[in-house]
Amino acid sequence: MVLINNWPDLRQELLEGLHRLLPAASVISKREALRPYECDGLTAYRQLPGVVCLPYTVEQVQAVLRLCHQLNVPVVPRGAGTGLSGGALPHEQGVLLGLARLDRIIEIDSLNRCAVVQPGVRNLALSEAAKPYGFYYAPDPSSQIACTIGGNVAENSGGVHCLKYGLTVHNVIGLKILTMQGELLEIGGKTLDAPGYDLLAVLCGSEGLLGVVVEVAVRLLPLPERAQVVLAAFDDVALAGEAVGRILSAGIIPAGMEMMDNLAIRATEDFVHAGYPVEAAAILLVELDGENREVSEQIFQVRQLLLTAGATEVHTARDEAERLLFWKGRKAAFPAVGRLAPDYYCMDGTIPRRRLSEVLARIAELSREYDLPVANVFHAGDGNLHPLILYDANQPGELARTEALGGRILQLCIEVGGTITGEHGVGVEKIDQMCVQFHSAELAQFHALRAAFDPSGLLNPGKAVPTLHRCAEFGRMHVHAGQLPHPELERF
């Protein structure tokens, strides 16, 4: 997106228009008040927005989009701002559109086993509201206490439960979106499927580029008769990785299977005091849920498998309170490392499970090479890796070194046959790695698809899918083994 010169005039016109459409409390324009909106959960990237809009209703959202489309002003949607890939990084000459005030739970429909919510509803709040009916909403990203359903849709969020119950895309059955032109489109609903192309699949994970989500219909699942978690400690991370494979090969699909390494264990124990074994090289948390006797049987099997795989201790949570405490620690793992270092950079890559131990060993090597500690947390069940690089942004050069290390780790993921992101999205953070993962025809296809939704390209520009020009520039700077990436693109 090219910056324009007459922005001050355009901004004035924009503000006048917004003040006509929205209540005063919905338009933020003073620089002092814009600053807290300059980043989301990824603080390394900051950009003051042109204007912030916080509408209360769908009609207001629509009016803002129409005005921006008319004035050719980019729009960046934002939920709770907990994203870790900079997806809600504002545009300097654009509107940051906050959806947090659309926070109504419209309906919990127990007959049809679904719920209809506005995008600003917090993930955990939905499950809490469904609980009295005996249901819950399965996708549970670690930030679920604060993150919004709208954000979950944009990022196709996963979480601990996604091994057994799927990602957001597997649990969304309907969406209402507003296009950049302000057209309201309704896709799906309470039915199992919708006619025509699977637009729900395309919209989940579209990172705010295709439309602004203003209503979501989701599948609810019955609360399991019983849920139990088994904690296992290992002296060696590789053994923990192998244990994971054994459990899956045995035909058991746990409701969740998570691993933390020693640094992560220490940080989270400090916060939650769950009794994690702080000397262990790694711990595995394996959750089993379902019918009472089946769970008992599975716990027995899992315990056996863990012990034969070399676990030094295996502990089943003694009651519901302890089970929740074990998970509370894991879910707070990222920010808890804030106790170890002033800043952390959370990586998000996915690799085939069988390569887990090898990848962890190489990350440890890289950590030594770059002299930066790395705590590791992962969704062991599906190989989604979150190395947390600990650093101090106030130290000159450390952020750059951190990003370099991060890039090497993502490269490693691709090398072993995985991808550069699992659930945090591409945002701005991994946009360069997109040039490595996809070739130019594929990127062009993404752009063509995006243009089908938003010909103007005003919705969240500069995120998720790099332009070919950017890839050419990136390729120029990263000549590898004498070969220029994207040789088909012209250089200027």
């Binding site: 002092e32 600053r35 603080t43 947090a100 206490i145």
Partner: protein, 401 residues
Amino acid sequence: MQTRLAPEFQNSAEGREADAILRSCVHCGFCTAVCPTYNLLGDELDSPRGRIYLIKGLLEGAEVGVETQRHLDRCLTCRACETACPSGVQFARLADIGRAEVEKRVPRPLPQRMTRYLLRWVITSTPRFSILLGAGRLLRPLLPQRLQRLVPIAKSAGAWPAPRHARRVLVPAGCVQPALEPGIDSALARLLDRHGISAVHIASGCCGAVSQHLAAPDEALQRMRANIDAWWPHVENGAEAIVETSSACGVMVREYGHLLRRDSDYAEKAARISALCRDPAELLAALPLAPLGKGRRIAFQAPCSLQNGLRLEGRVEGILHGVGFELLPVEEPAMCCGSAGTYSVLQPALSSALLTRKLGNLGKYTPELIATANIGCLAYLQRGSKVPVVHWLELLEAPPR
């Protein structure tokens, strides 16, 4: 987060303390989930994360004005964010430092300055408050109903047992509690007396919280020193605890040590006093209390200061349950009632929205009465509650009114 302190803050103790707190924040946003004002307003600027960022801006030398002031003013200082924060950010300390700096830089209109001054002037002096309340009570019948609710009727104190035991604890009287609810401290004294502890009542005036949270830190320090002077003889005589029956005051007294750490005359005493400070729940948990509950259905409002400041979540409920009360479920237990010290005067709209919500949650299963642990919450809930609101100590000592 990365910080670049402006030179004037790099060399000040407050600046360095604030910087350390800022660096512990990783901007994850978990705090937004539990913040009452973010819940009501949906604006990042009215969330702990946003407020931290505004204070960061101030300390980095950015221009601050009424925007920053307004959003910091709206903070309840309920500390729910501290409990939710996985990184251990000491939000309340940062807010105190930030508010004091904003107060120096951003002028307030005269009516605001007057209200704040009057609040401090009236509340921090027990005699002054009592006199004004007395006058209010005289005039009560003449007031419109809306204002009548603000002037609670007078209550009797009940007997204070003579000091007869070797074990002694100190019970500071506080600022408004003697005039509003004189029965609370005496109930504690009688309870402790039956279990071998004599409570010494001491007039104390405000613990300092009002001044501290109204961005008058020097005035707060004066109050703290005055209290320390009054309490120290008793500490030297072997008082084994200083028991604050209002949880909010308990939080404040526990900070005396930190706030006076650089005062060579008071540092040691302040640290000792903070170490001696106890909430009644901590003393009573181990005592064999009479089963007065008889299955009566009550709702307990756990003050924010008790849950988040003192980290005593569940203790009082445990004691009440243990003596036979039926504690009804209360939804959104971490959501502030809106009293928050002087907040109900300074932010009436937000405050009353929170009050309505809290009363709705407390009343959902029709309790006989509501129990709480803090005078501010008590007086505020009484304004709108259809059932009596009492301090939980009174439930253990005398039949509830």
